[in-house]
Amino acid sequence: MFENLSDRLEQSFRLLKGQGRITEINVAETLKDVRRALLDADVNYKTAKSFTDAVKEEALGQDVLKAVKPGEMMVKIVHDHLAKLMGDEAVDINLSGKPSVILMSGLQGSGKTTFSGKLANMLKTKRGRQALLVAGDVYRPAAIEQLKILGEQLEVPVYSEDDNKNPVQIAKNAIKYAKDYGKDVVIIDTAGRLAIDKQMMEEISAIKKAVNPNEILFVVDSMTGQDAVNTAKAFNDILDFDGVILTKLDGDTRGGAALSIKSVVNKPIKFVGTGEKMDAIDVFHPKRMADRILGMGDIVTFVERAQEQYDVEESRKLQKKIAKNQFNFDDFLKQIHQIKKMGNFKELASMIPGVGKALRNLDLDDDAFKGIEAIIYSMTPEERQNPKVLSGTRKKRIAEGSGTSIQEVNRLIKQFSETRKMMQMMTTNKNAKKMMRKMK
């Protein structure tokens, strides 16, 4: 599985330097790489095929600008095409009903109940809505209890009928309840079901009929493989849903299912789930997703966010240092402080190609950096500026000083040098800024 498609493409195009056009022959190898990247990311077999065909068509005969390497050109074409397929910026949910009814659907364990809670919480806290959660999963053990606990935590009321095994009735009664008690959004959680389970699909279709939802959401696990297309299509055939929710994106899956689903049902992905906690919800960013699928990190977003914080002068100095391989622990520390200022680091880290990968293995809580900072603070200025001098005895002293272990010190040093290597590769291989411009 390759880490970074842009590097790969660069390689397969190395031989072509000097050729002014993208031709059938010089594109074949690259497209194979692209296709493979997509399959590794769980993009559906057929989707991947038609994607590469379309890219080929677009690429053939294109003049390669002098200033641009053909590899970079291909990256741009692939990226743009993928971003286009992923759709425009986030599409909002329809809240026009009185009350607005939102129906959740999806396979077992995809994250419907959790997402119902997150959505209720978001609508309540960010949009001042009076939400009502409805416990429509009458099958799975303790499913009702799960929603009730979430409701309690969020202080959002939960409508349930503990002895009623008929979710159609429950949903209907819940709407009435919402009207009676002035709730303006009703979120109906349902049991997970397989698309081929006829009886269960009939049931959810009956719920739809009974409550006429403003919004039907299909919730899908971002780790899903090739089957995503079958399931999405089957649910869509029966429910004609309005939007897709992609969950568990806090994992490290590339999430190719997003592309497959998009291309087979052509419905917008509206929100993503990024954790088990109730605030781990985000609107969908098509560009970020495109980069993630291609394994490129979200360079664009990262740099945009970074630019808001970074001092231009400072960053120019840093770039120089990186290029000369002089990046040291002081700079590392500075960066950590900058990054902390930028907010949600976990999200940011995952956007940086290469770097993101190196840092991903850290558990990135708010104080994820505590240990790192402690270690660096225990170094002498000389050690920080010239990490090469770090001998065994010095490491031991640092471990003691920072209240960590030699292993932790070693790990940090290793991570540091890997990060440094990758940063250097990034800046020298391709001027990061130039690349960004082209990716927009």
């Binding site: 493979r36 399959l39 990311a41 364990g109 799960q146 397989l194 490290d252 899956t253 088990e276 558990d363």
Partner: protein
């Protein structure tokens, strides 16, 4: 044509209805494209590639399978359609690690490892708790005394969920309250089980994504705490993989194995349209046998994994 016995009748009906049309006649196509040819040509390999990739086998493993087929064909010179089928199956079956205990079917337990401690791990929502319910049922029916430990103290109503399963099966459960230390629950469970001469202990754990180091460390701790009571516990660390998961299953296996030395796999939700092909590569790469498959939400919807039947199901028409 349903000649393979992977699923019981009812499940198979469910399954057959749902099979995508593109999958139909794969073997037929394979047969046609190989007919009268002395070597496996591009068409056949393309066809094969599609079947394997759409079953989530993954590019690497697919290429390896194809290479093996090509090597066999080169060696045996001529190969007809039937032979191709056989060879194909043999080569894939080879990749699946054989389970260590051959007569596991009787739910027998190693006598020197009683109580036999099973810790069930996996990412969120894959079917850990449900599989535990089904396993407890199997062991109980085999005459074993079973204890369940409710060590998912994190997810809302996780304790209530496993408690309902313990009632369904009719086996004791050891639990604390939501938010309590899972290691402490596991310890309690082992100590009760030991005092009561139980045969099997199954520990439920909270779903966790494998890239969260803190949560993975928690599993290692769980293990260490159990070892205070029973030094070689847990005897079985069962990683549950959702049958509809794609290539991320590799990373799951890798990280869970790193944290806890997983020694058995279970694949769930194979009653759906997903084929679960990723376990072929996972089992091969990590040398971990697949022990069980989940084929429904009911108490009886668990089967012992059979390599041949599983491989057959990939090519089922």
């Amino acid at each position: 044509m349903a000649i393979f016995g992977l699923f019981n009748k009812e499940k198979k009906d469910k399954l057959d209805q749902g099979l995508s049309k593109s999958r139909k006649g794969v073997l037929e196509k394979l047969n046609r494209s190989v007919f009268g040819k002395s070597k496996v040509d591009e068409d056949v390999l393309d066809e094969l590639e599609e079947v394997l990739i759409t079953s989530d086998v993954g590019v690497d493993t697919t290429l390896r399978i194809i290479e093996r087929i090509e090597a066999r064909v080169a060696k045996d010179k001529y190969i007809n359609a039937n032979e191709l089928n056989t060879v194909l199956r043999e080569e894939i079956v080879e990749l699946l690690e054989e389970k260590a205990t051959p007569d596991y079917n009787d739910w027998d337990l190693p006598k020197d490892k009683l109580p036999y401690i099973i810790m069930v791990v996996g990412v969120n929502g894959v079917g850990k708790t449900t599989t535990i319910g089904k396993l407890a049922y199997k062991y109980k029916n085999a005459g074993k005394s079973v204890y369940i430990g409710a060590a998912d103290t994190f997810r809302a109503a996780a304790i209530e969920q496993i408690e309902i399963w313990s009632e369904r099966v009719g086996v004791p459960i050891v639990k604390q309250s939501m938010g309590s230390d899972p290691a402490s629950v596991a310890y309690d469970t082992l100590s009760k089980a030991k005092n009561n001469n139980a045969d099997v202990v199954i520990i439920d754990t909270a779903g966790r994504l494998h890239n969260k180091i803190n949560l993975m460390n928690e599993l290692a701790k769980l293990k260490r705490v159990m070892q205070k009571l029973i030094p070689d516990a847990p005897h079985e660390i069962l990683l549950i993989l959702d049958g509809s998961t794609g290539q991320n299953a590799f990373e799951q296996a890798k990280q869970f194995t790193k944290a806890t030395e997983v020694n058995a796999l279970a694949v769930t939700k194979l009653d759906g349209t997903a084929k679960g092909g990723v376990v072929i590569g996972v089992s091969d790469q990590f040398k971990i046998p697949v022990k069980y498959i989940g084929i429904g939400e009911g108490i009886d919807d668990l089967q012992i994994f059979n390599r041949r039947e599983f491989v057959d199901s990939l090519f089922k028409e």
